[in-house]
């Protein structure tokens, strides 16, 4: 298989495809942004990048590329499910979430109280955006020049966003795990990883066969996750500012979990 040639325009379009969302979550994070948080964000982008590179490197080892020869009795349903849940969902989310946890333990964990800090959500978002940046650049580079803008728009609106939302959702689960202890906490986070894989898999699975009906459900799910994240953001981040003026944090009595 020939080496993919990535040009400067592909990198520019790839960067532009994640920029609006990076700006949006950075600006929406109204809590003070310390130096550590800013370093964590940069590392988040880098680790997102690393996770894509690792997946691209591992992919041919796990699923060796074969020539384009039709297979006997191949069902599109099976291949779609494999692609959506295993190749995309499980692989991508496992790598991203491993890096999110690593980064959060490094910069966003209070070892005294054993609680994740709010900035973990921001790190989760930026790992996802770092991942999307490289993935989008690759997809844009593969496309013929006539279709680059079309793929850029699709990756910007749908792909970057869904990566971001799934990982933000996981980030909030990290915060929600603060009230749990020991094994309960580990199983809670493992279930959250399972949910991320499921979210990724279901959206991809419905999109890949290309049925309008499937696209409707996938878009509805996508918007549903967005609403969930917006409401969690309000509870766990926006209301933290209000919490400073009150004795009971908003997050203690209102949760989407």
């Amino acid at each position: 298989m020939s080496e993919l040639k990535i040009e400067i325009w592909d990198y520019i379009l790839g960067t532009l495809s994640v920029f609006p969302w990076a700006y949006a979550i950075y600006k929406s994070y109204t809590l003070p942004k310390s130096r550590n948080i800013k370093i964590g964000i940069i590392f988040g982008l880098l680790l997102g990048w690393v996770s894509t590179v690792l997946i691209i490197w591992l992919h041919p080892l796990l699923w060796p590329q074969t020539d384009f020869v039709p297979k006997k009795k191949v069902s599109l349903l099976t291949s779609t499910a494999h692609l959506a849940f295993i190749q995309a969902g499980m692989m991508e989310e496992t790598f991203k979430i491993s890096f999110i946890l690593f980064l959060s333990f490094a910069f966003g964990f209070d070892y005294e109280t054993k609680k994740f800090k709010t900035e973990s959500v921001l790190f989760a978002g930026f790992v996802a955006l770092g991942f999307s940046l490289v993935e989008n650049t690759q997809y844009i580079a593969r496309e013929i020049s006539d279709k680059k803008i079309e793929i850029f728009l699709a990756r910007t609106i749908h792909s970057s966003n869904i990566h971001l939302l799934i990982n933000l959702c996981f980030g909030f689960f990290m915060l929600k795990s603060n009230v749990k202890l020991g094994k309960d906490r580990i199983s809670f986070l493992t279930l959250a990883l399972g949910l991320a894989i499921l979210q990724h898999g279901v959206v991809d699975f419905l999109l890949i066969p290309g049925a309008v009906f499937g696209q409707w459900i996938a878009t509805a799910l996508f918007v549903g996750i967005w609403v969930w994240v917006v409401r969690d953001w309000r509870t766990w981040i926006t209301n933290q500012i209000e919490d400073k003026k009150t004795l009971i944090p908003a997050s203690e009595y209102s949760s989407q979990s």
Partner: protein, 603 residues
């Protein structure tokens, strides 16, 4: 100022949300993003009214165009009638002009309405002013834009320009397909939709914080309901009392939503684990109701309706055709739909009983908590989720995506083969409505491919002269067997039309394109052993060709044969000319009926 009126969303977030709402149709987010905004931002009225206007535009366009689309899909006659009617450019322009005029009239009524309201407001102010400060003059610096005639004109004409811009963008991102039989109708729909959206963008942007006068009463009433609910929610979270009359106001609004769609009332009360399952069950049942109704009128219509959403029956065609004439399925669907409405409504009413609201002592302990998130225990809470789960499983049996093949049947069930229902008249089962009228029966040829210069070469192929239909038996893949009557070939061509159209197969194909694919149709109607015999230089299109073949299943089993059928088929988009295709095999196959050669494979 009530805390519920506080501006919780920053201006930049509002602007970004507004942009995404207006662009949601262009970004393929459709009606879902505006609906999401309604759920995520209950208090931000300025954003909500934009989301509502996009939802209304979608609903209005669907109400207007969906019946026409269904009529178009109902039969070949109606398709030809509409396409013939829209063939003339002046007719299309007249229809578009009528819509522009309609919007213009609406805008003008809005201007007049707003002017009257403004003058009425001024009169009241003037009276108050004269009472309080006699001789003082009324200051009126902030005139509402709606009341200005030049604003009306500006919106009216600027909307045309904006919709033209949208049109150019859409055509750039998603070029129209001239081979699509819906192209003419889709063109008008796109224009109307773009013009409505453009008008809404300009109207709401120029008016800034003011709602368009014509709709302000409704919008304010709607937002009052949301505000009441939010206040109740806040009070419930703090375990404070909420006025009974206001609770009844919320109930009125919840019941209204519930009547429109089951589950909508529960969603309004933010009981998502009950509301969404009921909503999806209701929507799925409405889909089934439409499929059974259309199929009862004509099975072809039912398949076409499913095809329009990229779906197909999950059961073999012959079973679907028989089932579609059974009114029992329709009755069961109506009963299920009625049950869903009644049960969902009765659960909603339980939330508003005097006992539940704490105005009367409860004799039972089955209190319905209000504004409590998460899945609650108890039969009535689990039942909606369970119903949805079972209905999804059932739906996957009957309806599947067009591009997916179900390998349900197994081989070596020869005992069952004898029980297969073999139609006396194959014509009944030919699902394609595009077979030309002048052909008697269905034994004639249907030309596949596009840009065919010589249509005469697609003429009838006699049943008797099967040997004329292809190379000698066993030439391809060295499989020997008897020839299959061309009528089955017609059926394959007809069946292929729906996925071809849906996948925009020929629209996406590069020019020139040619490839040869081989596949087996089993006695159970499955498609197996799909093989690319000769690929092109376009792997993407080759892959699409294989997906197209795979999407054909389940099919009617090959008639009058004991074994499976091996089909070798040429896909090309040029003339019926051997010089057009590159390989000897393709040069030979180009003259076969529909470029297809079939033979029975002995087991």
């Amino acid at each position: 100022m009530s805390p519920l009126n506080q501006n919780l969303v920053s201006p930049w977030a509002k602007k970004s949300l507004s942009f995404l709402i207006w662009m949601s149709p262009l970004f393929s987010l459709g009606i879902f993003f505006p609906l999401g905004v309604l759920c995520a931002f209950p208090r931000t009225f300025s954003v909500r009214k934009k989301a509502l206007s996009v939802i209304w535009i979608y609903l209005f366009s669907w109400i207007l165009f969906f019946p026409v689309e269904m009529f178009h899909r109902s039969s070949l006659d109606s398709e030809m009638f509409i396409n013939e009617f829209l063939k003339d450019e002046t007719t299309v322009s007249a229809i578009k002009g009528a819509f522009v005029l309609f919007v213009g009239i609406l805008l003008f009524i809005n201007y007049v309405h707003s002017s009257f309201r403004q003058s009425a407001r001024n009169k009241i102010r003037q009276i108050k002013l004269e009472t309080n400060s006699p001789g003082a003059r009324l200051r009126n610096g902030n005139i509402i834009r709606d009341t200005k005639f030049d604003t009306f004109l500006l919106i009216f004409f600027l909307a045309l320009l904006l919709s033209f811009g949208f049109q150019v963008l859409i055509e750039k991102i998603n070029p129209p397909n001239p081979h699509n039989p819906m192209a003419a109708l889709a063109g008008i729909y796109q224009f109307v939709f773009n013009y409505f959206i453009s008008t809404a963008i300009l109207l709401l942007t120029f008016n800034k914080s003011k709602t368009p006068s014509l709709f302000s009463a409704f919008l304010l009433k709607y937002q009052t309901g949301i505000r009441l609910r939010e206040t109740w929610k806040q009070k419930a979270e703090k375990s404070e009392k909420f006025s009974f009359l206001n609770e009844m106001e919320v109930k009125k609004r919840a019941v209204f939503r519930e009547r429109l769609l089951p589950g909508a009332g529960h969603i309004f009360l933010e009981d998502y684990w009950r509301g969404f399952p009921f909503l999806f069950v209701g929507l799925l049942l409405w889909l089934f109701f439409a499929v059974w109704s259309f199929s009862f009128l004509s099975p072809v219509f039912g398949i076409q309706f499913l095809g329009s959403m990229g779906l197909k029956p999950g059961i073999p065609d012959k079973d679907f055709f028989v089932a579609s004439q059974n009114v029992g399925y329709l009755v069961i669907t109506i009963l299920a739909l009625t049950f869903t409405y009644v049960y969902s409504m009765s659960l909603l009413n339980k939330s508003f009983t005097l006992e539940n609201l704490g105005y009367r002592k409860s004799v039972e302990s089955d209190i319905e908590p209000i504004f409590v998130s998460g899945l609650r225990k108890g039969f009535r809470n689990i039942l909606p989720v369970s119903l949805l789960f079972h209905l999804i499983i059932l739906s996957l049996v009957f309806v599947i995506p067009i591009s997916i093949q179900r390998n349900a049947s197994k081989k070596n069930n020869s005992a069952d083969k004898s029980k297969h229902f073999q139609p006396d008249k194959m014509e009944f089962y030919f699902i394609d409505p595009n077979i030309p009228e002048e052909m008697k029966g269905l034994n004639g040829g249907v030309i596949t491919g596009t840009d065919t210069t010589n249509k005469e070469q697609g003429e009838k192929i006699s049943n008797e002269k099967t040997a004329d239909n292809g190379p000698k038996a066993g030439y391809i893949k060295k499989i020997r067997g008897k020839k299959v009557p061309p009528t089955y070939s017609n059926y394959i061509s007809a069946k292929m039309r729906i996925p071809e159209s849906y996948m925009e197969y020929w629209a996406k194909a590069p020019h020139p394109y040619s490839s040869v694919v081989s596949y087996t149709i089993t006695q159970d109607g499955d498609i197996i052993d799909i093989e690319l015999v000769e690929g092109s230089n376009f792997p993407d299109q080759d892959r699409l060709t294989l997906e197209l073949i795979e999407s054909l299943a389940p099919m009617i089993p090959p008639p009058n044969t004991e074994g499976d059928i091996r089909v070798t088929e040429l896909f090309w988009n040029g003339p019926i000319d051997p010089n057009f295709v590159p390989t000897p095999l393709q040069k030979e196959m180009v003259h076969m009926f529909d470029g297809r050669y079939m033979e029975e494979v002995s087991e």
